[in-house]
Amino acid sequence: MYDTQTHGSALDQTDIKFSARNVQVYYGDTHAIKDVDVDIADKTVTAFIGPSGCGKSTFLRCLNRMNDTIDVCRITGDIRLDGEDIYDKRVDPVQLRAKVGMVFQKPNPFPKSIYDNVAYGPKIHGLARTRADLDVIVEKALRRGAIWDEVKDRLHAPGTGLSGGQQQRLCIARAIATEPEVLLMDEPCSALDPIATAQVEELIDELRTRYSLVIVTHSMQQAARVSQKTAFFHLGNLVEFGETSQIFTNPDDPRTESYITGRIG
């Protein structure tokens, strides 16, 4: 198992957002995640790559406790956000998810207006005291989501009427609107065409200045383009974790090399 300590991450402890130790996930009798240790840094894009069914999405969903909604899923080990155990009994998953936003594989705007989609999170968390506050929050989120110019004239049109790429950026804006500290993205571009993908990738690069981002992707080119850190998962194991440039040019593990060069996966 790869050990982050010996390979000397350049980041010191205060920059670590998530730190996971000895994480195991079981779906019923299936052992989906085995002994995963990983540190996710702030203001960095971390990419999770690996073949289908390797557990990268499952692990991602552990980070905001989305797996809680699945009955048969059981998690052991230690995952800390800013040093606090997120699986502690005192932690409310609802509050955790407000801090750790999530963007899904398929764009899933609510069947509401564009405005209401973005205002949804701020409203339920009481972030805006007046309608004017809410307007400001919505505009800011849509601007950061790089979709403001396209939708500013039709904020009250349904969000489901946008194109796929616009919908995904709307979902990103929706996640940003609650002011999360970490943004998890589960294959955010797999349902998008190359142009929309480029727009979303550009957006990810901008968001890095404010948030810690974790992105699961099937596209190795995408991981190489957008991420600074890369983790390679295989059959539930974290095989290798390190600087993206190193993983893609000079991997330590033969399995990583095989996957990157297209021999497995």
Binding site: N64, M66, M102, F104, N108, F110, P111, K112, G121, P158
Partner: protein
Amino acid sequence: MTTLLFGFVLVLALASFLVARSRAGQLAGDTPASLHSRPAYHGFYSLLWVLMAGIGFLIVLTLVPNYLMTNSLLSQIGQALPDSAFIERQLILSDAKALATGRIASQTDPLRQEIAAAYAAKAAFWGWIRIALVVGAALIAAIATQATVSLDWRARNRAENIVRLILAAMATIAILTTIGIVVSLIFETYSFFSKIDWQLHKFLFGTTWSPLSGVQEGHMDADKVGAVPLFAGTLMITFIAMLVAVPVGLFAAIYLSDFAGNRTRAIVKPMLEILAGIPTVVYGFFAAITVAPFFRNTGDAIGVSIASESALVAGLVMGIMIIPFISSLSDDVINSVPQALRDGSFGLGATKAETIRQVVLPAALPGIVSAALLGFSRAVGETMIVVMAAGQGANLTANPLEAVTTVTVQIVMLITGDTEAETAAGPAFTLGFTLFCITLLMNVAAQRLVRKYRETYE
């Protein structure tokens, strides 16, 4: 004889199917792909034609001769007894038919004997014609379709076309039945209104309902056909029923779809649906014998007078009857809201309650409204519970603790009463037609409303 002919057609169709299939198979030999249509389609094509020809002729040659014979024999009776009433001639004819087929007739006389002999002769003649034509048509269809079996015969396309026509015919039957019912309602309503000299306002706004009180004198009293008490009673009971059924049903559906575990759901949902399987007559006497006395006694204890037949009891029990319709349908639509939408909401830090109220329910709204509409139609059309638990007197009141009656109950009373059908049918059909219009309007209005407020998801 009919059964035998029917059996012959079936056996011939099956045989023709097998022969055509095996012949097509042999034609193809070792290269099945050289056949345009699979062998089974050749068989199926043949089977369809034999069935259509045989059964078609069977139906036509059973109905048409019967009609012709009845007409000619009735006119023969009319010539023998010019002064007889139509109903008397029919009686003689049915006696004659009984004599001819060896059953027991009400009386025998020379005329009946004569008609019986004539009937027997005609029946024998048409019987032979029928056998010859049905057997002939089925055989011709079988032989003709056997002759078509060849490598490039498009049996599949033709068989599919025939099936499509059969399906269209079935759909047409359903539509024509609906149109027929509506037209007959309109017709009877028209004749009822003409009997009260087109004083529509007396029906729509009158408050006294006793339509048969003037029948002895041979006319309909326009002052006593006011349907307001009936519609008021119907609406009051329906309103009470919906007040019970919609919240209980909807909350049960939300619990089942989003809170209950799989095992709970697997037990609770079928149990709720059992409620829908209880005959309404059982609900009716449950309401009359158990619920009504309980309410009356409770009312006595706290000093409120509750009639032993009341709108409240009928409405409550009816509401319980409707719960499974609303809960089961709503549960289905709530479940069909994509998990992705729920995940999206949870991912933003929404609680379960926020997710259900702000994301799931708006997306499921159209389905929930149609579930409620279905319940509404059931409540409006329900009769048994109301007959037993709400009373039969047309009593105009806004107090749900008193006895009221509904449109459906009055229709039952009219049709099952001892007044002759022709007189009673007028008010009954008119009530039915008005009820139909109200339900239709409700449906249209609700659909408009839903279209305005619904949130569609892909």
